[in-house]
Symmetry: C2
Subunit: 465 residues, 2 copies
Amino acid sequence: MATGPEAGMDDGAFRTAEGRISLLWLERLRAYLEAGRDEDVALVMEPLHSADIGDVLEQLEPAERIALVVMLGDRFDYSALTEVDESIRLEIMEALPNADIARGVAELSNDDAVFLLEDLEPEDQHEILSALPTFERLKLKRSLDFPEDSAGRRMQTDFIAIPPFWTVGQTIDYLRAEQDLPEEFYQIYVVDAGYTVLGTLPLDKFLRTPRSVKIDTIMNTTFVLVKAEEDQEEAARSFERYDLVEVGVVDESGRLVGVLTIDDIVDVIQEEAEEDIRLMAGVGDEDVSDTTVDTVKSRAPWLAVNLVTAVLVSYVIGLFNATIEQMVALAVLMPIVASMGGNAGAQTMTVTVRALATREIEGGRVRRLIRREMVVGIFNGAIFAILIGLITWLRFTNAGLGVVIGLAMIINMIVAGTFGILIPLTLDKLKADPAIASAVFVTTVTDVVGFFAFLGIAGLWFGLF
Amino acid sequence: MATGPEAGMDDGAFRTAEGRISLLWLERLRAYLEAGRDEDVALVMEPLHSADIGDVLEQLEPAERIALVVMLGDRFDYSALTEVDESIRLEIMEALPNADIARGVAELSNDDAVFLLEDLEPEDQHEILSALPTFERLKLKRSLDFPEDSAGRRMQTDFIAIPPFWTVGQTIDYLRAEQDLPEEFYQIYVVDAGYTVLGTLPLDKFLRTPRSVKIDTIMNTTFVLVKAEEDQEEAARSFERYDLVEVGVVDESGRLVGVLTIDDIVDVIQEEAEEDIRLMAGVGDEDVSDTTVDTVKSRAPWLAVNLVTAVLVSYVIGLFNATIEQMVALAVLMPIVASMGGNAGAQTMTVTVRALATREIEGGRVRRLIRREMVVGIFNGAIFAILIGLITWLRFTNAGLGVVIGLAMIINMIVAGTFGILIPLTLDKLKADPAIASAVFVTTVTDVVGFFAFLGIAGLWFGLF
């Protein structure tokens, strides 16, 4: 029940009951855009939250997106661009004059401004920065100097820092008098003259403590800080682990230089899980709004890797050419063993990759986990060996063939469990991302072992070599 | 750089530089546990944050976990149990007397208490609730009456509500005088006599506004609320969309009954992405700490489904028995076409499933996306058709075989793209979770089409029927 964004819209709600953007609403906007009725466009867009404006942009055709931004002019809230897919953001920003972007960026908080600028071409970035007031420009430049995906890139450089000898009353008076406060803040930092953090204070502490109390008697002296060069995923883990809402960011010398807030971190957490899903499926850093060419480019490398392993696997089958020729039922049955192994391997691998990503596998648990996966492989192998053995016996009225496929199944399931856990663990030890290549390695192993075990055992059993 | 949890530990840090629990630290704890030195155990555990206590519990053997909780006695912080895997939580809680649990639960905030109680057996739940003070018991019972995974289950029932005619000064005086405030809060709710929300006020507003200002002149009148019966995933989407830190929860009559805070929602967001990964890989609601038997139980159903489809696919191959018998190279090559189709289908499916989960596919974008996936299928199909065609030609010195496998590849890649997007979309339309069954359907389609197209075209081309 979002009461906010609907307020002020009497002629047709913006979102349907299921939370999707109303097609009726969208049609009306499109009509206004086509007719060039910019006052009407501004009127329907005005009540929307920047996240909703982002959703609207994603729904429109490319030409309509530009038209919308141009018609809104100075009324367009550039923070909406932080809410759309990267490809749409770049498309819109490339279509607009840099002077307009500079005007829009000047209105944004430091972290949103960095988010918009970081992916632009160096020349455009330079031109926009030059058009900004000196103080803003220097702050943005400092953030942009930190590595991509670091805490320093994501941080907000406005924060409230007070000395430890102030009282609660003094602090409140200062906040009431000060005009240039951050838009929103959740805690106040107690620092020494060199901006080293001595303590933190959540806002509710100020509201429950008498005015005369000294700050250093109520501040939290155990607190979490993150380094500006630290990866944003590391910072996200601190937020998750300690249920934080805001954290201070310090430079190499321990000086407080900014803060990270939970809303930025929620996006990081989401992206991180997303990344694992994509890497495991062999999809790159891809959006639904990417062009066809970009999509082909992002997927072809993974398909190429798969082609190489598939050809390799087919060479393994080729070794048993003569065996298959004598008993064509083997060709009919062989994909079953490989497919079951691939599936079981994917299960183990997924659990392992996620456990590594969330740091759930440490120390003594590893050995316990490997043992469990092997035992699971033996159990499931036995269950499905019996099933497929019976099915095969009935279908081909050949008990021997049933025994052969059953044996191959047990072997492949144990191999699947073992490699499903060892491959991601090894990649992690080698400092590679276990999500990225595990799937390819695991299915290659289960395919090779599946075909080799089945055709090999069959050859021995029926004397076909 | 976590300064907090290390504080007070002079004899060996708790975490290593990489953020893992120090094995040395763990060994010492184990030694204390075995020797029954409960004062030493309490001493090393005392400085730890509840999240760290949770991590320690996960690293220990089952018997050690119980020993740790028993030795700590009343010093054990039960909120640590909200940080461990479900199976470990249940194992510990089943081993402890209900009276101890009741004493521990009484110390917790309402949302943490519900989290611990909700998965217990009804009798245990009842016994623990009965041991609590009436007021606490009623509050917990009301939360437990809301459906599983609803906002009402996750909410915190302590919040601060004030009337609109108060001033900023009156509110601050009230907060300073009131003893029974929630542990942490980020906004204050302005309500009428019937607890209908009239507005919200973030805490920083109180700190920047003079004491004499009336509340109703500064409160936010556009705000987001969630219904208690609403699914927690819906609530999480509101948090993400509007960058919220806290949101009010209302019952059917619009009465404010609790609040949801971002720290609970971060877990929901994490779980939701996690769930998609697991469902796509055919792994149920499984933890790394599950027993072997539970793991077998969770995975076998998916393997059974895979067995059925694999047998189905093998019947399709069986149709071409005679064809393969005449040209055994077909058996050697056929897994390549199926494997490439399966991979391409998984790519499209993954992008679609995640876009559906994050509500990125709406209205006009669907048609555009289907068109894109088909075109991507044609492009990648053409690229890999040429590649595999050449490889096959060189390997078997048979140009016709190269053409056949190339044609089959193009067909299967287009089919993979089309079904990779249509299957999850259809499941979503039918109100099923697109993550759960898409993978099985998509690979069945690409296997069937892959084998059928390749063997069928080969049969026609070489006149083998």
